[in-house]
């Protein structure tokens, strides 16, 4: 399966282990990634705060490039925030023909245009895995079932709300996909209060206390629920949950130390890829305990 692949900014910036793990996982699932290396930032909600026409034009440019990838069945991203920010623009572009034509006018010098089509989609790897590859096909490829590993899902706001915009009418189980995948690879999903809440990242530079109290509280809840690790399909969440976790611990006044995996890293472990290739050594909160548990599975 060939997809136009938008990796986003953060996966090539502060979470390079995400970009690397996706590259390692894709061939094992027969996904051919055609990276949109000339596409621009999705705006992450911030450019939308600044100017809607601008963010819609920038994402229309990305969509047009993706639609131009010969043989691709759609566009894939690996970031909940990209998913939500881009879907917001797509919603506006799809809603009004005159507006779409106007926005496409900004792309004409390069011969690009976003074409509205009910058949074209942009899906996070999580959605693509469940909807296009399927959980049965995934189960068949699992060489190392992560039995006994207790994984707390963390979705990221942009991939769960608003449901109407994000296609939940057509795919009502999207807010349960992480749990479904965790089960499919043999691990145990952990239920806790924070799974669908906000990591706080959008206000980290504006209100550090609000931001880190959120991430700290979710990690504490995951610990209390007995999780071995958290998994997220959003690198921006990962920044607040992992990179900022030592600071978040101060805001919630307790020890944390909860490893946070990127979604493709977790899949990679189940597909038998070694932890180092997946970049599990590039985390702020050490993933040693998770790695040891996985190593024991291999030995057994």
């Amino acid at each position: 399966m060939k997809v136009a692949y938008w990796p986003g900014c953060v996966s090539r910036g502060f979470t390079p282990e995400l970009h690397g793990s996706m590259a390692a996982v894709a061939p094992l699932l027969d996904i051919e990634l055609v990276e949109l290396d000339r596409a621009n930032c999705c705006g992450a909600g911030v450019i939308a705060e600044h100017n809607q026409e601008l963010v819609d034009s920038l994402n229309a440019r990305t969509f047009a490039m993706a639609q131009g990838v010969e043989g691709a069945i759609g566009m894939m991203n690996i970031c909940s925030t990209c998913q939500g920010a881009q879907t917001e623009c797509k919603e506006r572009l799809d809603a009004d023909e005159a507006y779409r034509d106007h926005v496409n006018g900004h792309l004409t010098p390069e011969g690009l245009a976003y074409k509205r089509s009910g058949a074209w989609w942009n899906k996070n790897f999580l959605w693509l895995l469940v909807e296009e590859i399927g959980l049965d096909a995934l189960r068949e490829r699992v060489v190392r079932p992560l039995e006994g590993l207790r994984v707390a899902p963390f979705y990221g706001c942009y991939i769960v709300r608003p449901t109407e915009r994000l296609g939940y009418h057509e795919h009502p189980e999207r807010d349960g996909y992480l749990e479904q995948v965790i089960e499919a690879i043999g691990a145990t999903p952990v239920e806790y209060a924070g799974s669908h809440k906000c990591c706080g990242f959008p206000v980290i530079t504006m209100n550090r206390e609000t931001s880190l109290r959120q991430s700290g509280r979710h990690m504490a809840d995951a610990i209390d629920a007995g999780a071995d690790c958290v998994v997220t399909p959003c690198p921006l969440c990962h920044l607040n949950l992992d990179l900022q976790q030592p600071d978040a611990a101060r805001y919630v006044e307790r020890d944390l130390g909860m490893p946070v995996l990127h979604f493709p890293q977790m899949i990679g472990l189940a597909l038998g890829i070694d932890p180092k290739t997946l970049g599990l050594n590039k985390h702020v909160v050490k993933t040693g305990a998770v790695q040891r548990k996985v190593a024991e599975l291999t030995a057994a």
């Binding site: 705006g43 450019i47 034009s57 043989g71 809603a95 010098p109 074409k115």
Partner: protein, 370 residues
Amino acid sequence: MSAYTLKIRRFDPETGDTARWQDFDVDLAPERSVLDGILQAKDREDASIWIRCSCRAAICGSCSVKINGKTGLACNTRISDAAADAKNGSIVVEPMGNMPVIKDLIVDMDAVHWKKVQRVIPWLLPEGDPPEREYIVPAESMIDITQSMACIQCGACVGACLSLEVDPDFIGPAALAKAYRFVGDPRDGATEDRLVDLAEDPHGLYDCTHCFACVEVCPKDVAPMNQIMRMRRQATSDYEIKDNNNGYGHEKAFVGLIEKYGTLHEAQLLPRSFGDGSLVKGQTDPKAVKQLVEALPTAIRGVKSGKVSPLKALIHHKLPDQKQVRRIFHEIESKDERLELNMYIVGEVGGSNPDLDETAPAMGETGDEG
């Protein structure tokens, strides 16, 4: 008629007991509401169940509760839908979050919601003497605020707000949507003062964490978060309010970096945020120094974990076609007015748009490959 089980959270502060769960079996047609179910339980089994309600038609905004974890109007939630969402067969009904519980399903709206609404000066502050007759306002200039005017003050967004959960002082979605109702009103003469007030408040415009919870639960499509973002656009672009919360600087820095590089250069985002988008300007401000020092451990952790090399932090490559991105920026930013497509007015996707073909492959002839 069908049988449903409601699991209602009971709490009576006068007894001194902690809250408890109580199951009630009700018998209703599937199209009836969760409120109908609660009222049947109250009527037939236990008259002491407390619930605030009146119109039963999603107009009065009285009966907001949490149903299976999701905040909404009990009268506007079909009992069969709630049963379909229910885990373990019982429809879980609890009071809304973020507000103190008075008794059972009734929360103290005065203590939180109404206090916050009062905070934003929810009345018109016209400039100059009033006209002899009525104010004349062109219809199109009011369109922008019809969405925030649709609010029925049910408090669902307040109960669901994820910023309020960690910062009870946050002005919150309902009050900020109400603020936009006056910020966007052409008759109001205090637009800039209102925006300065909300931007400078550490629990104001820039305390919203952009989580869409309010957008999701609002029964009237007010989309409070969208109104907050509208005010941010006006505060930064129209009035250039350089607030103490760094909202202005963060936006300028982020947008400026994308204009320059095409993708985000994260290492420069924070330092540029303190310089209104510039890397050097404003760094010596004592507040900037304090925050940059605070952020240092994070940067060091990033380098130590191997996520970021010092070189990568310094050098960020432009996109190969960055001049295209710059041209788009220039075309749009050089215009006098911002173009905004108001989805509340335009309507929903999939209307009578002739070029939507749901079945056609999107790209070439290989749409079904894979």
